[in-house]
Symmetry: C3
Subunit: 365 residues, 3 copies
């Protein structure tokens, strides 16, 4: 983890750009906000109200988290086309070991790619490092994080670390396609923090997959445990185009998701569960990338001995059946695996959990 393999964003971006040249015109033609296809989309427009006009007046970083006109209505870009033969890959939820050194150097590439999120569904994903979520990061409180973002996509992207305290106008500013940006920080607090693209409209960039988790250990490490990271997100998908479902901005605004997932694939840990052993302490770092709904985290057949609402090892409550992680938040849930068995973990807001925010923890004998 000390240094993630650099993916050489610029050259790969150049190759991609050439290969996709013919698709670009089509994409740019779609870069105006299209008329909502469904009648439901009228919800936000029946009253003749557009997006808040005040939010569109600043050309600089101030608009980086606001609505923009003329944006693409979906996540379809030249990079996301042609997903027919993209294989499905389970996302490993295991927390990687903490960095061996006190300085962690990271180079992420923002990519727009087709991603298979279940057997029958490929989405037009906006990603860090080609995946939803991006890589799980693991550092210590006070470590130095040296971060570089290269944008190998077709629209501006950026990086916002919830583990950092930085001037967003400088560090989290948007990076144009083909360009890079670097910044450094030292996490002040321990905890389970989200990172995500902060380019306007944030709803579109988070809603299209640009998020991940950085776990910051406290100075005195927590008790040894089997540790897993679960990032919940919502899917708002449009009709497939050439086999790829774009994320749909108007559906994001309507806030009625089609699907949910932990770590980007609805129900993936039901098919390929998480395994621990009887007697283990199990620690879930539960992040909620939203973009909108809370995650009422629960383990069927289990109870949380500890939930950290703020920075561990303090800020804890004990004896909890279910606790809600807000969109944009993260909390840590600990459970003694005292009994062997098959334990479903789920967003207990079942109208949401039932759509894919559900998985299986197997406690072996």
């Amino acid at each position: 983890m000390a240094e993630l393999a650099q993916t050489n964003g610029r050259s790969s971006n150049r190759r991609r750009f050439l290969a996709e040249a013919s698709a670009l015109a089509t994409f740019l033609a779609g870069c105006v906000r299209s008329k909502p296809a469904s009648e439901k989309s009228d919800t936000t427009t029946t009253s003749g109200l557009g997006p808040p006009s005040h939010l569109n007046q600043n050309p600089d970083s101030r608009s980086d988290t606001s609505l923009r006109h003329g944006m693409p209505a979906t996540s379809s870009t030249p990079g996301t086309m042609g997903g027919g033969n993209v294989p499905f890959q389970r996302f490993d939820p295991a927390l990687p070991p903490v960095s061996a050194t006190r300085t962690t150097k990271l180079h992420f590439t923002a990519r727009e790619v087709p991603l298979r999120v279940r057997d029958d569904t490929v989405v037009a994903a906006w990603t860090f490092e080609g995946n939803i979520p991006g890589p799980i990061l693991h550092v210590r409180q006070g470590d130095t994080v040296e971060f570089t973002l290269t944008n190998a996509g077709h629209v501006p992207h950026s990086m916002d670390f919830h583990a950092s305290q930085l001037d967003p106008k400088v560090a989290f500013r948007s990076v144009l396609p083909g360009q890079s940006l670097s910044f450094t920080y030292k996490p002040k607090y321990s905890g389970a923090f989200l990172y995500h693209c902060g380019t306007a409209p944030v709803l579109m960039h988070m809603g299209s997959g640009m998020f991940g988790a950085i776990i910051v250990d406290p100075l005195t490490p927590l008790r040894k445990a089997k540790e897993f990271v679960l990032v919940q997100n919502e899917f708002y998908l449009g009709p497939a185009q050439n086999g790829v479902h774009p994320f749909d901005y108007n559906k994001m605004l309507e806030t009625l998701p089609d699907l949910f997932a932990f770590n980007g694939r609805p129900g993936q840990y039901q098919v390929a569960p998480i395994h621990v052993k009887h007697g283990d302490l199990v620690r879930f770092y539960v992040l909620n990338a939203g973009p909108t709904h809370p995650c009422a985290f629960h383990v069927v057949g289990g109870q949380f001995d500890t939930v950290y609402l703020g920075a561990p090892p303090a800020n804890a409550i004990h004896g909890v059946q279910t606790f809600s992680v807000p969109a944009g938040g993260g909390m840590i849930f600990e459970m003694e695996a005292e009994i062997p068995g098959e334990f479903v973990f789920v967003n207990h807001a079942f109208g949401h959990g039932q759509k894919g925010a559900i998985g299986l923890l197997i406690v072996e004998e």
Copy 2:
């Protein structure tokens, strides 16, 4: 409470089954997921996305909390028909006395019945013991709970106790109509815990009424109080058939409820309020059966001296106007009744509270 009267599920089920034989064919014909009636139902299908396919591949317990194809689209079963003369009955919110012995033997029968939830509305209820919610249970931390479930309904049902730590694959497994299942556990933590049917799809079973509360006292009891249990739930109802509104699974997936209630009947405690006396400590055990939305619990004219976020008597905060109980969760709210008067308790998320999650606490002189 030491032993609830056994309702002899098997024989009553046999009688019911015979009586309802003619209705069964009709019911089975409806056992495929019907086309959503309203245009709104297109929300979840406009993109051509069915339920997560990964979630339908396990024939065993792993699918017990996932989507299933071929399920009934509503809660109409032969058991729920003919509700014209079902009387309305207020649900007593008083916490019953704790079990006199350290072992509590329970025999619940799962029943599908017509239930009048307000003067003009009978619903096709899936229940424990014929009511929404099921019986309020009251035990002590470390007690032994010996539980048996008999399924007197027409579809599989099961029991998931949030107060327990058990292997769900064994204890919470589905029970076929006419069959029974038993398990035993000792609650590790004190608190206000939900119990509910865990048969797939859980959204359908919880959304149709199969839930209740078990209150677990800490080893050192909390201060003497007037104690009440309020279980919030949402109603997603289809058009009445022969005077009975079925719960509608597609509306549950759309997450826009018609009605809310504390203890199964919208607004029942406005008509027939809860009474305490001036000087009493009032303790509300607030459970949220959802299936989806949080409950922002508040008492108009009051403030909570204590809210227990986790196991009492620890894990408390003080001086609180409103706190949110997530779907699948439970918290304990204490208020000194220092002033006589009429105090409305409500889900302060008023778009929800206004639909029936509201009642009246009268503090007498």
Copy 3:
């Protein structure tokens, strides 16, 4: 703050009433619940279910927080007409100094007025003191608050202080147009408390703008800070009539908002940010007037050193990226402004934040 200027509600109401006489007939004609205009409104009626009937049987205060039939379907009243030349005014979020004396005398007037909430949008506002939100109040724990409400509007209004412990039937009862009501209380707890109109249906009155914040300092004041009050609310608007968008009750029941705001104007603090200095402690009092959705409060580029879930200075957690304030709730968020820069504060439930619950904190060198 010791005594707000009295607005002489009765005489102004009389003048208003005469001036608007021609409009009154039109208004009264609209006083029955109109048929929902959009197909979406069928959501709550497809099943043939009206509002909970139990909730409509009490003519007295018990119905003050319940549904009523025959109510106006929108907030259009004679007072809200003709907003063409209403200027836009930023709402000052600064917490005013605490009352110099231990008794605070307040006289609020309930008014229905046209209010410009962004450059292109005037709404038919129901208000305290002519603004959304009402005035920010600032007192100390144990102070005496002497409050009078005069209703200069055209429908009944009332006042419910979350900072108080009072019999709602007496203190929070509805005040008819042209009448007044007074009550006195001493806040028992410190904290960030909502006040709002409690007249039935509360959803309509809160949803049309009748809310504000009262900040109660603990006996030992918190550490010196730059203090700001942010009240989030949702907008459910109907089509403009003569340039004024009424709030729409049926849309409130559907719970899918058009816009969000901090302090009544979507995105106002992006155009005119909040300023502090490097080294300041920044304290946000975050209130959520809803009416329905939570506020997942977050500062981009910042972390909260302290969040008070209950009464300060206790009931705090530390090292928090995002925490959710429920509808009807209030919490206090502290952040050391350790770094100069431009920090966006936002409801990180981005499907909501993106609609206007977003602003900018500038930390100057």
